[in-house]
Amino acid sequence: MATVYQQLDPGSAQFLTTAFPALVRNGTNFPVLGLAYDAAINEAASWLIRAANYGTGNVTVDVDWYADTATTGDVVWQAQLAAITTDADTQDTETKALATLNTFTDTHLGTVGQRLHRAIITMTNLDALAADDDLWIRIARDAANAADTMAGDAILTLATVSYSDV
């Protein structure tokens, strides 16, 4: 039994035509690439991966992020997925619906504004995921949620998808 990890790079994110985070590159000594999620508008980015060696159980999405300007407050992260089994599912790929979203509220730990945080989202809504499915992952910031209190952008630097292979 092992845990499979797949990393979602900000540079490989895909977006719809509206309400998407800006791709930003910051950093002094090395480039810090990220997706800057707005504090006032819900924005989302998506990735496509292959669920290689997926066994059973929940999928976990770790969202590594830091605050652009804030030093306090909460960020409400959302993740949801859509899985299609190639050569078996007859679902139209372009009109495929996402499964019910999963949320996690992460609190800025203070002291240093741009410190790195990790929000761990346990995805229990799996859309009948099976091994080797094509898997679309959508990660959003629910900025309109009253529980999302952090002012300024939340910058996603890396997301990691993990699951068990048995």
Partner: protein, 89 residues
Amino acid sequence: MAALDATNRLRTWAQIMRDWPPGAGLPGTTKPDLRAAVNATDDWIEANQASFNAALPQPFRSQATLTQKTFLFCYVAMRRAGRLRAQED
């Protein structure tokens, strides 16, 4: 110049969060705190615009429009906050 309505206050708040210089950092406050500060600032401007106008010297006071006086205020305030760069700098 009338106070901002709720929509314009909301958009001011949203844009402040986008444009705020990372180097300056936001104070240790939340989105609702910042929203309240935006509202209070607009209220203060509304309540004190007559006093500001009276402080302006002639002939500027009588010659400038309300918008021009507002620009003046903003330029001076931005310079004080280090956000207005001049050619001489």
